[in-house]
Amino acid sequence: MNKNAVGLHLKALAKSYGPVEAVKGVDLTVYDGEFLTLLGPSGSGKTTILRLIAGFTLPTSGQILIQGRDVSRMTPAERGIGMVFQHYALFPHMTVAENISYGLKMRGWPAAKRDSRVREMAELVGLHGMDKRLPRELSGGQQQRVALARALAFEPTLLLMDEPLGALDRELRIRMAAELRRIHRELGTTVVYVTHDREEAMTLADRVAIMHLGLIDAVGTPHDLFSVPPTRFVASFFGGHNLVPAELTTQSTNGHVRVTCLGQDVEATSGADLSGSGHVWVVIPAPAVHLGHTASPNLNIDATVTETLYVGGSVQVTCDIAGTGKLLANLPVEDGLGLKVGSKVELLVKSTDLVAVAREAEARSTTTALPAPSAATEEVDDLAKDI
């Protein structure tokens, strides 16, 4: 496995369904052996991209390269990609063993080699001794293991997963996610994993590509995207952070800017080039909010408590900043439990915890200081029924 070799390359990939542009020219590089998560709200185009890579639908324009080979116009069979669906899509009339060996049979493996490979895969996914069972005799988690074994059996260069844990309950989801990490470590297959669950993306992926309205908003490691979000959408959708409007005053070169926020002049980190944008958002992570009041360089906030929620280990406090909007704070239990709804509270955020992002996406979201939930865009992915 060569960490610098490119496993999958999307070049200006676009797909329209009539007048609806589901994917609007996406560029993406996934390295060999990498686990990349495509994260986005429903309708963001992530499932369409997956179907384009798999070959279930053809791009309107652009290219798909797998290990340098242009597969844009090939049939799904020719691409040699393993695929795992949310609802498992096991062949109900075939046993576990028959399901796993289906791809091997289609690819002309001799029977003896098929059998030993099936045993090997069943062992890998922890389904030893179940090869004679039918899918309907298995639990949801077991079925997803079969689907995974089936997709990996023929040693694909690329594994695509479409919300594979979405149909499982929470506890099983966490266990299966750990299993996925282990199997990925053992096999080193390049994985593109689609989900709308940011926790899943955060825990599973080497890198996350965040999709928004048919485009990739940002790509980076979960930690980078969380701690220094480059865009407003990444800050709210991936980080779940607070956004407070501010004005850019000084653009400095070392990745720091000065902004006027809530009438104070503070320094903030900037994840992307902000030149030319006077209006910005200041991103405030809920855990970075503390009780107290000190002079600059910190940002001081006067707010009114509107709700407190004990979540075990910390208290989630919703406040109202006069004239600005809501602010979510995660306070330590000893600070948060004493707060009364309706009481005034003095909060502060260290300037090292502040990030400034551009405010250009105004047109498609309402101006609010709250992290805007995913825009209720049309579910265009469902239109991908043209295969």
Partner: protein, 264 residues
């Protein structure tokens, strides 16, 4: 709840049970009587029979008239079921697996023969067949019967294919199957029991068909239902009870088979 209310609801429960029992009795008594009558050795219908035996069945087996009518019915019913399946299958795939325009309307039109008044349709068919000089031909009757057999395929196979996720074919293709192989090896294979069940029901519908044959069958095309009608005109031959019993037994078995097929 007061005791009066409890008494009332108990009464209603008893009443509804009684109605159900009465309905079942009403439905099954004629069946039972026909079966008993068929094992009578009398030459006229009389209940209860004085002497039991298999005279009706022997007479049926020995009569050229009845045997040839059964053969004719089979000659009609088999091709009819085949035509219904061959026409219905691609239609069902098109309704469920393509983005065919107006597909809801077309699917509904596939069910229309269930709702059409049979006699009115038969009169129209007769007028048309007369123009084409195909009144009294086997092919003409097969085509007419295919119309009433088609909805069985549309309903039964349509319901089955709706339970097969389109993802299965996609997964098969990603595993290396061609599109045709994915469709036949997976989707077609999974709806095959439903196709066989639909075939059986279409066959029974055609075998049992008594309206169209009277209009477009002409005087010479005598299927079993037609033969029964004709024989009634000459008075009631107790042999009919034997035929009725055989028909019910065969139909019952075929329906059981069809239900079993749909479950697999």
């Amino acid at each position: 709840m007061s005791s009066a209310q409890i008494a009332l609801s108990t009464l209603l429960r008893w009443l509804s049970s009684a109605i159900v029992v009465l309905l079942i009795v009403f439905l099954f008594v004629p069946v039972v009587i026909v079966v008993i009558l068929s094992f009578s050795n009398a030459t006229v219908l009389q209940f209860p029979p004085e002497q039991f035996g298999v005279r009706q069945y022997v007479a049926f087996a020995q009569s050229d008239y009845w045997r040839s009518s059964v053969v004719k019915s089979l000659e009609i019913a088999f091709p009819t079921a085949l035509v219904a399946v061959l026409v219905g299958m691609p239609a069902v795939f098109a309704f469920n697996r393509t983005r065919l325009p107006f597909r809801e309307g077309l699917e509904l039109s596939g069910l229309a023969p269930f709702l059409l008044p049979g006699v009115a349709y038969a009169i129209a068919l007769f007028a048309m067949y007369a123009q084409f000089h195909i009144v009294g031909t086997t092919v003409g009757l097969i085509l007419a019967d295919s119309v009433i057999a088609l909805p069985y395929v549309v309903v039964i196979v349509g319901a089955a294919i709706k339970r097969v996720s389109p993802d299965l074919e996609l997964v098969a293709m990603s595993l290396g199957a061609s599109r045709g192989r994915a469709m036949f090896g997976i989707t077609f294979r999974l709806v095959l029991p439903a196709i066989l069940a639909a075939f059986v029901l279409a066959f029974l519908a055609a075998f049992d068909e008594a309206t169209f044959v009277n209009f477009v069958g002409g005087p010479d095309l005598v299927t079993l239902p037609k033969a029964i009608f004709d024989s009634l005109r000459l008075g009631v031959d107790p042999l009919i009870t034997g035929i009725a019993t055989i028909l019910m037994a065969v139909t019952g078995l075929a329906m059981t088979g069809a239900v079993f097929l749909r479950r697999t």
